[in-house]
């Protein structure tokens, strides 16, 4: 069974090692550690753990190629800027004046298109529903080119 110090617990020693205590408390514990082997051992353990952690972390950080990391990040940003998704995103982005300009352009073009529509010449120009009168004969003709309807009758 491990011996424990009756004056300070492990938490306080940990805070002392991490330099998180006030200067007054720091001074008291510093004096106490000189006379208490238990607390001294605990503080040394903590210092070793802390040093080991810092050492390990710095080794892992050194493995990272920060130069290529920066290049990769820049490449990805560039790809996003030039990508199709970016273009689509830009098109639908809330740029109000562009949307309005597009709408107006569509309307003007459709208006010009409708107004410039030629007369529909598909099919005969007229449909003859009925004929009457004293004509001896009646012919209904249609021209080949513009399907112009002609009625020809002979007077009696």
């Amino acid at each position: 069974m491990k011996k424990t110090c009756t004056t300070y617990d492990k938490k306080i020693i940990s805070e002392f090692v991490d330099n998180e205590l006030s200067s007054e408390e720091n001074k008291k514990i510093s004096e106490h550690i000189k006379t208490c082997p238990i607390c001294k051992n605990i503080s040394e353990e903590y210092i070793q753990m802390s040093n080991a952690f810092v050492q390990r972390t710095s080794i892992e950080v050194e493995k990272i190629n920060t130069g290529s990391l920066g290049e990769n990040v820049l490449k990805q940003i560039k790809r996003k800027e030039n990508g199709f998704s970016k273009k689509v995103f830009d098109y639908f982005s809330p740029k109000l004046y562009l949307k309005i300009a597009s709408l107006v352009a569509i309307m003007v073009v459709s208006l010009i298109y409708f107004q410039a529509q030629p007369v529909n010449i598909i099919g005969p120009s007229a449909i003859v529903n009925s004929v009457d009168g004293n004509a001896s004969s009646i012919m209904i003709l249609e021209t080949e080119k513009s399907k112009h309807t002609i009625i020809w009758f002979s007077e009696t």
């Binding site: 109000l96 004046y97 459709s110 208006l111 409708f114 107004q115 004929v131 009625i151 007077e155």
Partner: protein, 151 residues
């Protein structure tokens, strides 16, 4: 800036709705133009006002001369009669009996000394024309070109 753009949008929509033929409401008046033509096999002649029609008629008839005798333009409402006097105591009565955006239903009658010699009911496409012919006149025949344009 936004206010100006809003105004442009509203005006554009209004113009589009009003002027688009698919959305336009049918008028109740039709501009009816009647051209009385004398067609004959005399010396070759085509009246300058008949150039559009003469080419079409030439594909069907063998006449060499097309002379415009008379033309009359009338704005007719539904069931309003338009009368055009013709040579040889004849008259042409044209009456739009139904006007829609795309078609005009006409009642057409040709009378001689008060008697109806020919009558027809036709459905004419808007902005197009029909030609009725047959009555003898001088050395040729009379043709009546009737066109309708809904106002």
């Amino acid at each position: 800036m936004i206010k100006i753009l809003n105004m442009i949008i509203i005006l554009s929509v209004a113009c589009w709705v009003c002027l688009s033929p698919n959305m336009a409401t049918a008028g109740d008046t039709v501009k009816t133009d009647v051209r009385i033509i004398h067609a004959s096999q005399g010396p070759s002649y085509i009246d300058s006002k008949l150039e559009d029609l003469a080419a079409e008629l030439g594909s069907v008839f063998k006449y060499t001369s097309y002379r415009l005798i008379k033309e009359k333009s009338m704005s007719l409402k539904n069931n309003q009669k338009g009368v055009v006097t013709l040579p040889g105591k004849r008259s042409l009565v044209v009456t739009p009996i139904r006007i829609s955006g795309e078609k005009i239903k006409y009642q057409i009658g040709i009378f001689k000394s008060g008697d109806k010699i020919f009558g027809t009911q036709i459905l004419l496409k808007n902005k197009r024309s029909i030609t009725i012919g047959g009555p003898k006149f001088k050395d040729g025949f009379l043709l009546f070109n009737i066109s309708g344009n809904v106002l």
